[in-house]
């Protein structure tokens, strides 16, 4: 994007040189590549909307939005998305309770306390956590975290929201810590030095100067992590079960929006049926929520950049 001004000037002065065919075809091809991303978005939105509209010809929107029972695959069918929403929210909130403090604290440690050597070792290790495939986290939740939970709370189910939530939380820690650390590293050194000159301790500098100064960046990392937790599929499919129900009890089996979509994907639901239509209705709900969260995160982060 940067190169435009000078290059077109240069080109002007060589206008008489023979024009190459490649310079006419290539830009068109490259433009098509870039436009593919827009086409993908239009494709996502178009398929979700048209199929969802078809779905809403059989099911009323108010039943979908406010119904408290979700059982589209078993008769009698009902199509209230609230149980899926509550399941998703339950897992996400648990994940955030785990990840927000831990992620922020490790970001503060890495940005304000850690010596260069420690940071060089710890940062890549945390990045490895971010690269672990989610199916591996699912296995970890089911075979490691769940037994621990069940030894503490004997009445917890084999599949429960708590186990899935904790592991989703572990998964998003590196995202929060690395984005927050970036935001805190961007805080000018002079602000810190000013506080130190007034006799502040390191913790006071970190907590009262750096964190507030980087707050928009930190908040936007929280929002992105929240959105990531909502969209996570495999951990909840493996560890949280497939029991859509309106509950706030983290020890019970629940179902999230993503896990429901995966459940239909695994089955042999015939194309064009109402059951099949549900994945689009649930999918568009998921898409809208994560899309809005991403926009919010972007907006918050942009406000932060303007401060300096």
């Amino acid at each position: 994007m940067q190169a435009n001004g000078t290059h077109s000037d240069v080109k002007m002065s060589f206008k008489n040189s023979k024009s190459h065919l490649s310079d006419k075809i290539v830009p068109v091809f490259l433009f098509m590549c870039a436009a593919l991303s827009v086409v993908t978005t239009i494709g996502i939105v178009y398929t979700l909307i048209t199929e969802t509209l078809a779905f809403f010809q059989h099911v009323s929107i108010s039943e979908f939005l406010f119904g408290t029972k979700w059982s589209p695959l078993i008769a009698p069918q009902s199509f209230g998305i609230l149980p899926l929403l509550s399941g998703t929210l339950l897992v996400t909130v648990i994940a955030c309770i785990v990840a927000l403090p831990l992620g922020l604290a490790s970001a503060i440690y890495l940005s304000e306390y850690a010596p260069q050597r420690v940071r060089k070792i710890v940062k890549p290790i945390l990045e490895v956590l971010a690269g672990v495939p989610t199916i591996v986290y699912g296995y970890f939740a089911l075979t490691f975290i769940t037994p621990i939970i069940r030894s503490i709370f004997p009445d917890a189910g084999v599949f429960n929201a708590l186990s899935a939530g904790i592991v989703v939380g572990i998964m998003i820690i590196p995202m929060i810590s690395s984005l927050s650390e970036d935001a805190m590293s961007a805080v000018p050194r002079s602000l810190r030095n000013g506080a130190y000159a007034l006799g502040a301790t390191r913790f006071e500098v970190a907590w009262k100067i750096v964190v507030p100064a980087a707050l928009s960046g930190i908040v936007s990392s929280f929002v992105l992590a929240f959105s990531r937790a909502i969209g996570e599929t495999m951990i909840v499919t493996v560890a949280a079960g497939s029991t859509p129900q309106l509950t706030l009890n983290p020890l019970e089996s629940i179902q999230t929006m993503t896990a429901y979509i995966a459940q239909v994907g695994l089955g042999d639901t015939p194309h064009g049926s109402i059951e099949y239509g549900t994945i689009y209705a649930v999918g568009i709900t998921l898409f809208i929520i994560t899309f809005l969260l991403n926009i919010i995160a972007m907006y918050v982060a942009r406000r932060f950049r303007e401060e300096y």
Partner: protein
């Protein structure tokens, strides 16, 4: 006067104490992530290492845990990468070149840029729904290797585009100016000067994106990567399975023997991902020396 000084000293001591306490807390919080990673690795090693033998790599999946292996899944994952890599490389790098070298700074360019970064935040299962609608049903590719690879291509494109853009942006302007000064056309400049010097950075991004695709499960569930495939796919229109799907299938069974298989599969998958990441790091180091 003395009393006041004592109070001050006390306050300072308390603030210092708080500093030490929080320092400890921050270290503790940071170590939890590392401990979790260690627990995860040890847990998987202990479950899976016993099942990791030669037969595991050469056997087809089986209803019997004792005879099941990962051959079809490993081959399926490799085929998928082989189909994905050239398509996503050409389209992704093409888009990045357009955005960095050709696009005018106008509203439409900003829209594409915003769109690319938004796409990166769309949950992967939504890509699965898109792939199911467009490739499996719309274009009637069915539950084939091709449908899966194209779906995964769309999923990793934003990652490739963004990293390739960064690599291209890092090429100094002087390089382009020198090329133009010699009378090169725009495309000659891009293809013979800008691309070669940003190629290591671009490849790093592509490898990382492909490793993300190798570990992805959710979208492939939607486009119907089968969990039981006893034969290797012979064409891109054949049924297939990939490692994460095979692992998921084993996890979903209640018997412990299958959980051990899953753990063994995870070890193979993680080793492959680590190798891909190491090669990306090597490339990145080489790259940072050159510029």
């Amino acid at each position: 006067m003395n009393l006041l000084q004592d109070a001050n000293r006390k306050q300072i001591a308390n603030r210092r104490k708080a500093d030490v306490v929080f320092h400890g807390l921050f270290i503790f919080a940071t170590s939890i992530g590392i401990i979790a990673l260690m627990a995860l690795l040890v847990n998987i090693m202990m479950d899976g290492l016993t099942r990791l033998n030669f037969d595991f790599f050469t056997s087809n999946p089986s209803r019997l845990a004792s005879r099941a292996g990962m051959k079809t899944a490993i081959v399926g994952s490799i085929y998928m990468v082989l189909i994905m890599a050239p398509i996503s490389f050409i389209v992704g790098v093409g888009a990045a070149i357009y955005m960095e070298e050709y696009a005018k700074k106008n509203a439409f360019t900003r829209l594409i840029q915003l769109n690319i970064s938004t796409l990166a935040g769309v949950p992967s299962i939504v890509y699965g729904i898109l792939g199911l609608t467009i490739f499996v049903q719309g274009l009637a590719f069915g539950r084939s290797l091709l449908s899966g690879a194209l779906t995964m291509t769309l999923l990793v494109l934003p990652i490739i585009i963004v990293s390739a853009q960064e690599a291209i942006r890092a090429v100094p302007r002087a390089r382009r100016d020198a090329s133009f000064a010699l009378g090169a056309t725009k495309w000659q400049t891009v293809s013979r000067s800008v691309l070669p010097s940003s190629m290591a950075g671009i490849l790093t991004g592509v490898i990382l994106a492909l490793s993300r695709a190798v570990g992805e499960t959710a979208p492939l569930i939607m486009v119907g990567a089968a969990t039981y495939v006893a034969f290797l796919p012979e064409s891109i229109m054949d049924q297939y399975t990939v490692m994460p799907i095979q692992i998921f299938n084993w996890i979903s069974r209640p018997q412990l023997a299958f959980h051990e298989l899953a753990a063994a599969g995870i070890i193979v998958l993680m080793v492959l991902l680590v190798l891909m990441n190491i090669s990306a790091i090597i490339l990145r180091n080489k790259y940072s020396k050159n510029v």
